[in-house]
Symmetry: C2
């Protein structure tokens, strides 16, 4: 196995978030399920955008957020995700590059525009996401940078990649490249509805290829079709080397073989916007993994990074996570 | 005089802000003067953007911010400013429209892109602004919506409009339209360097047409070429019906004829980003003027709105200003 140039390489949908405040009635009138993600087409995106309030644009994308968090922790992170050569694509490239993440993708010169996620933040700080996939539908197996994937200790994939039509094959190819180079493969389930749409594919990818699985309580229940969290946890532990189950304010559980670690949440003065909580938990956890830290410490690093991201609007860290980790004695 | 459909119509440079954190050394290496605005061309904009950290995109523009603040107070506000038909232009239109401001401008279908202001926020919460005027250079007298200007009790102009080449004539034309309809004309000096670049034009416009003048201490000193604040204040009071002089943490002074009101600042728990402080002060003040409130109350409304805007990132209000004004007994 060659020595690793990167700690983690992530593959995901490259998205610019448009974040606006909304009340429960706004969600209710449109049948939106709070806390989840739905896919919308260009026409729906234009309509919802016209109806929603003034927004803030920030680079997003689940795995891209995780990579920005890893870079903020001081890890060497790289990202693969498809943008278009438009203004929002330029914003995405600028932000991930200036965050310190290796990003070599060529922007598409035709086809749909750079993906947008219209995020409605309700007064309880929950986010409800409406994703227009745009240029992300262009990503296929042939767009993967083999050398980049081989260069990282861990490959990190988002479940959302099952949605664009050609990315499903890319997920499997990427996992094969990583395992071929002796690397670890990790996956986030992303969203319960996404699991619902692609359950069989998720199960097969996880059984064949996933070493480290990230999921929240609802997602893991959807994956194994059970409302029994303990049963779902056992199933995940059978399928993967490490299963990481996040439970919002209740903290997280890390299971590996017969070992089981309960990790408390990190304190937060005020929860402002939960967008990115799972993404940044993964940053902290994977940082710990690449540094060879015990699983319980990996979990505490995850909690720490999640606490930072939910204390402000947006899913990219505002404070250097490396300093926060050092202050918490976890660096 | 026809009854007014709008309270205030504003004309300004339509700009999308790109806000990023930077340290003093970053400004120092580039010779940037903290707290001021400089004009940059497209090449400089691309270079500075490449060098600066991850950003947040939010609609801005000095007068546009003021109009959004007026709408948040419950006033009927309208805006004139030139955008391009690109993604950032769509963002600008969406945000000002969804804030409740009347905006009827047609986007330019060719020429430079929608204007951007690269804003660097230092740890002391000061903002240093780098403006690429882009599509704003297209605005000329023939682009003015005469009926819209005639429809508002007050016309509000930004000094920044002296920078794009054809807008200088538009300023004068707009003032003539407003006065022809029996309306008031107000102007913000915007920036000391902008005053420096166009001092004679500022003086002439103010002497001929400005009823209500907004300036901070440095700007008014630059306009009248004096470091004596009292002398500058007297000069402003001679030229205009009302002169409003803001002094950051020291509050503001409102002078009209022989009357002089000292207005304290409103309390702020934590100053996060001073971007928009002057713009939102003008929202509150003009709101009071259109409601026929005493000048001292107008000043307190200004302080209240400025306090909201400096308590968070960005120059558009996050909380309904109408509710804040009611809570402060000023609605």
């Amino acid at each position: 196995m060659a020595s690793a140039v990167h700690d983690v390489v992530g593959i995901g949908n490259a998205i610019v978030d448009v974040i606006a405040h909304a009340d429960e009635a706004f969600l209710g009138r449109r049948g939106l399920v709070k806390g989840t993600t739905r896919l919308i087409d260009a026409i729906q995106a234009d309509r919802l955008y016209a109806e929603m309030g003034p927004g803030v644009e920030m680079s997003g994308g689940s795995v891209a957020n995780t990579m920005a968090g890893l870079a903020s922790l001081g890890a060497r992170a790289a990202y693969i995700g498809q943008i278009r050569d438009d203004q929002l694509g330029q914003v995405f490239r600028h932000d991930i590059t200036s965050a310190g993440v290796t990003y070599r993708m060529r922007a598409a010169s035709s086809g749909p525009s750079t993906a947008r996620c219209l995020i409605l933040v309700t007064p309880d700080a929950q986010r409800t996401m409406n994703t227009y996939l745009g240029a992300c539908v262009e990503l296929g197996p042939e767009d993967l940078d083999h050398a980049l994937i081989e260069s990282a200790k861990v490959l990190y994939l988002e479940g959302y990649l099952f949605d664009p039509p050609r990315a499903k094959a890319a997920l499997r190819t990427a996992a094969e490249i990583a395992h071929g180079a002796g690397r670890k493969v990790s996956l986030s389930l992303s969203d319960p509805f996404c699991v619902e749409r692609h359950r069989a594919d998720f199960r097969k990818l996880i059984a064949d290829h996933v070493d480290i699985l990230f999921a929240n309580e609802i997602e893991i229940g959807s994956l194994y079709e059970t409302s029994d969290f303990q049963a779902a946890t056992r199933a995940a532990a059978r399928d993967c080397e490490i299963a990481v189950l996040t439970r919002s304010a209740k903290g997280s559980i890390v299971v590996s073989g017969s070992a089981r670690h309960e990790v408390p949440p990190a304190p937060v003065a005020q929860v402002v916007d939960t967008t990115g909580a799972g993404d940044l938990y993964a940053s902290g956890f994977l940082y710990g993994v690449t540094r060879g830290r015990p699983l319980e410490v990996c979990g505490r690093l995850g909690s720490l990074c999640a606490a930072e991201i939910i204390s402000h609007i947006g899913a990219r860290p505002e404070r250097p996570l490396k300093e926060l980790a050092a202050a918490a004695g976890l660096a």
